[in-house]
Assembly symmetry: C2
């Protein structure tokens, strides 16, 4: 690892686009989800999450409730709480979190094991179903929570408990004789161990992460043997995916495409990037690059959503991106941010930040209602509410966000990402401060011993004007590197009011110089409305266009444009025909677009004639209103579509 | 019932389009399927069909094999055999059928009951699962076989057995106190009892059919009570369809739309039409009309296929007609022919014959490979073979016909329809002979005691020229009524070489006169290529067109046009740009079409760029070859599509 001479110290996100969302998460999301974890959301099925820990600790009688990975929802919530406490101290919330940690740690076994499902249902069965029962997954999330909570509060209770658990896992798994040669059916512990390693610098933590990655898919297949030994038939072994569902059909080095369950895949790849970077493992890094390209070049929606199929919440095949039956799990888009952020730490390249923004501003944000109290698990690009009710192919698609889920992985995942957004918006490396996306903020860093503060002022993503003002204890040499998004064809940049040459490289405008107190940088990203086409190989989008502006993908909703959105055509409409206007009262404040369009009418057609050779529809001129995709379904249920006919 | 003064006596179908298919059915299909019923098809799972009868009769040891309705496959085969024997006597085949009947009747119980599943698994359980276990369905098919076999061979063995079974069913079911108030989960016995009634004129047979129809969906719901009594949870009661899956959520008189399982629906409606006609029940007839309209005006594919969804093999909602995930079961299209044929017996109306032709020449015929030895269960209108393998939404869609199915309802259903085609091509009523579709044939009928023979000569469906030559013992007054299909905008008609006025009414050109020996009628149906649009409410077809000529729907196949059929556009192409040519060596002899088109190329697009604002595809001019939809998938597996972009 390079020595980081530029060290990020603190980021304060100030009033603006993201602070509003983060405040919703903090004020509404965190208390609401705590209620859900404690079975206090009216009308929602109990989650049993916190109760499971008390039952496992013997504090309460009862059975295990919910899914095998119910513990992980608590862990993700706690991790999110840790991040919010770092930017908004709150003694009451911290006491709540402490009490949750008390309940969690009370359920830990003397040998370090900590999992309510097996503790309640029989410890003799633990580690017998790595493939489907998520023990290492729950451990991974709890490790991440422990690290985050320790970093914010300096409280060691959960961290120490997890270090004991990790020691125990280390004693059970590994290449050494007598140890289990298994790995998690659902990755995440790889990333978590790397997070732990970053804190502890304990080589055993790194080695464990490496083991789980390198052992995966080795012959003989651990999952296959485990299934035989326990006479078990996993659902996924019946269909065409088989072990590829788990990204475990072959060693990761031999995998060519992103396959199987999309969240598992992106979590695994994220852990792989961490290990590759720290170990300088160029072969593993190459594998990560090819997985990245498989996703973003051939298997990703324009919104940054991944996972085309509800079956297995999975990737399917190249260019197979149906809009109306899309899965696009919120967690999978969150995982794309994790992955992109890690790719950026390995190599600065605008594509990584482009994809990160694509996911963040679109399919991640769409995961939460503007009020913070309901959620999308699935993020389609086209919705016909009647079809969601009556068409089995679309039963996973909801036209409105739900208050909670029996499998509630997405809501707390959303919290932990949004509450730690600064870790993705910025990074520092060697003598450089990188800004990957733009938001009102104060970034404090230490450059070669000099304190540097960068104040950023912007209305991004609603326009492309960004102003940076530097505060320095004394002049300092370092590089300021600004992401020039792929969608931006022209940008201008001024330093202290003087235009400098726009010569971005690999998606970043890099300025290495001696910076002084009160230096300013003004970046102007040209952010026109853009009409986007999909590669013709994407057969579901052929003859259609999408409309974007900056990082925001737009959509049409029935609330603005009436029903039968399939009858709308943009034939002959150009980007110049679009008008942009900011509406402070619409959907929490968004830049909406209006455009002309034509609309086929059904006038010429009897309702009772299905097919005719003389029934060419009449066209009428209409004006469309476009809203950001992430804000859809915040009004009454209705149709929505991103890809519109040309 | 009106007295039929014109009585159809015999139809001989001569060399031509249909005789070739019927010969394939007779020579290949019947022996092949007999092998399948006897577990002798190599590479196919055993069907256990005939063995079940021997096991039930105690002739062989063993368990019941296959599905609960396995008996019905034998019945349908036998019915088909009966029809072929009527136009092609075959002593060897008849002996085979006799031996099958021996095995069937040997399994009959002393009380008349005849069902191998319950006989083998426990007679104490019979009639406890009318909803899902198909006892009355199997009885219905066996009744149809018995009537058909008796009518061809005058052999009473199976008929007498089924009369005993019907007596027993009559003793168990009915409105009288102490009888079961149930009805079949899968209709067909209604049609069968009406077929039996037509033969026996036994009012009890009619009354039973009426009972099953009128009892259906009455409160309290029989199926609901049966499920509670037996503590059973049917799959269909979990989803949104519930009892509507069985068309049993409310009494048939109160049903407004065609819902649920498409085959069940069309069989039920067919039985209802029979009862309504015989009983002159105008309310029931009105219900039938509204069910018919629900299907053909809002829920039917252009190929005549019905059932949009694989889930429940069911109707979904108005205008929901996805092409790539279509179900369109072959049996459902066959059922549409049954239904249309019955509607025509109630009222002569061209729409009924139009829909009958639409189904017959397209989605029925597509059910069988040209060699008669493999079959489609599902008939999609758009296929991408890779998606059928890798996309769970399309796993029911096959790119190639299959040798057999564990649920093998379609292949023998195909046989029994095609082998009795004359019953749908012609009908007689009062003093009229109706010709609903055109085929080389000799029709013999008796008009007021005078023998009349009509020889029909035509190349239909490849062109619209039809010549009728009459042979009469003596001049006779009767009406000759010729179907003028809905697709035909202009036709000419000559009697004895003299043009007569084209004044069709309700889709028929009716000529009531005194006909003499050697009178000729020459009909010329104008049969241009037609570019058809779907109602704009059909959102899956918007911006697309289909190509038809006469009753034939055409499609594009990869074998002729290369892959990526989604890139083909017919923009600006008119019907006049199409060329028609008959290819005797192509697909058994078909009229193929060629047309210009443009094709988007992927040249301007990097394989690794999913989205771009400057990536407008280049267009190239291509020439397309179109083949009849029914003949698709008779070459190598590849893409196919009916609806092509404009």
């Amino acid at each position: 690892m390079k020595t980081a001479d530029c060290i990020l110290q603190q980021v304060i996100i100030r009033n603006g686009f993201w602070s509003e969302i983060r405040e919703t998460v903090r004020r509404e999301g965190i208390p609401y989800q705590w209620k859900a974890l404690n079975d206090q959301v009216e009308g929602a099925e109990p989650s049993y999450c916190m109760r499971n820990f008390r039952v496992a600790a013997g504090k309460e009688p009862g059975k295990h409730g919910g899914l095998v990975f119910q513990d992980s929802d608590v862990a993700k919530w706690l991790e999110g709480v840790a991040y919010t406490l770092s930017w908004h101290p709150d003694a009451v919330l911290e006491r709540t979190a402490d009490s949750a940690i008390d309940d969690i740690v009370a359920a830990q076994q003397p040998d370090g094991y900590l999992n309510t499902y097996y503790t309640i249902n029989g410890l003799d069965k633990r580690w017998t179903n790595l493939m489907d029962n998520h023990e290492l997954y729950c451990a991974g999330h709890m490790i991440e929570a422990a690290v985050a909570y320790y970093k914010t509060t300096s409280k060691r209770k959960l961290l120490d408990a997890m270090l004991r658990y990790v020691d125990y896992i280390d004693s059970m798994f590994g290449g050494e004789e007598g140890k289990l040669k298994g790995y998690p059916g659902h990755p995440v512990i790889e990333m978590a161990l790397m997070r732990l390693y970053e804190l502890t610098q304990n080589e055993r933590h790194l080695k464990m992460a490496q083991f789980f990655i390198k052992q995966r898919g080795q012959s003989p297949l651990y999952f296959e043997q485990e299934s035989i030994d326990n006479n078990r038939e996993s659902e996924w072994l019946q269909g065409p995916l088989k072990f590829a569902y788990y990204q475990a059909d072959k060693p990761v080095y031999e995998q060519k495409d992103a396959v199987g369950h999309a969240v598992r895949a992106a979590y695994l790849f994220s852990g792989m990037v961490d290990v590759a970077r720290v170990k300088n493992d160029s072969l593993l890094q190459k594998t990560c690059e090819s997985m990245w390209r498989s996703i973003v070049e051939r298997r990703m929606y324009i919104t940054g959503a991944i996972g085309s199929s509800a079956h297995g919440e999975a990737f399917t095949f190249d260019y197979d991106l149906p809009n109306d039956t899309a899965y696009g799990e919120t967690c999978a888009s969150i995982a794309m941010v994790f992955l992109a952020g890690r790719m950026l730490k390995t190599r600065i390249c605008g594509t990584y930040a482009d994809v990160m923004e694509r996911a963040l501003y679109n399919s991640v944000l769409s995961g939460m209602q503007l009020d913070g109290k309901s959620f999308f698990y699935v993020n389609p690009l086209e919705v016909l509410p009647e079809a969601c009710e009556k068409d089995e192919r679309k039963k996973h698609v909801k036209a409105q966000r739900q208050p909670w889920f029996s499998c509630a992985c997405c809501p707390p995942n959303f919290i932990r990402l949004i509450a730690s957004l600064e870790n993705y918006a910025f990074s520092a490396d060697d003598q450089s401060l990188f800004i990957h996306t733009y938001l009102n903020s104060d970034v404090s860093c230490m450059v070669n011993g000099t304190g540097v503060k960068v104040r950023m002022e912007t209305d991004y993503p609603w326009n492309g004007n960004v102003k940076l003002t530097l505060s320095l204890d004394e002049p300092a040499s370092f590089e300021l590197a600004l992401h020039i998004p792929g969608w931006c064809k022209h940008y201008g940049i001024k330093v202290n009011g003087e235009a400098v040459r726009s010569d971005s490289k690999d998606g970043y405008h890099r300025m290495r110089k001696e910076w002084k107190h009160q230096d300013t940088v003004e970046l102007t990203l040209s952010m026109p409305v853009t009409i986007v086409r999909a590669n013709p190989r994407v057969y579901e989008d052929v003859g259609k266009v999408a409309v974007t502006r900056g990082p925001i993908v737009y959509c049409l909703e029935e609330a603005d444009n009436g029903p039968d959105l399939h009858l709308i055509r943009l034939q002959g409409v150009t980007a110049e025909d679009f008008k942009v206007s900011y509406h402070p009262d619409l959907l929490g404040g968004v830049a909406a677009l209006s455009s002309p369009a034509i609309r086929e009418t059904c006038d010429g057609w009897d309702e009772n004639t299905l097919y005719a050779d003389d029934g060419e529809g009449r066209m009428e001129n209409v004006t469309l209103q476009w809203i950001p995709y992430f804000a859809w379904a915040n009004r009454e249920a209705g149709e929505m579509r991103v890809w519109v006919r040309e």
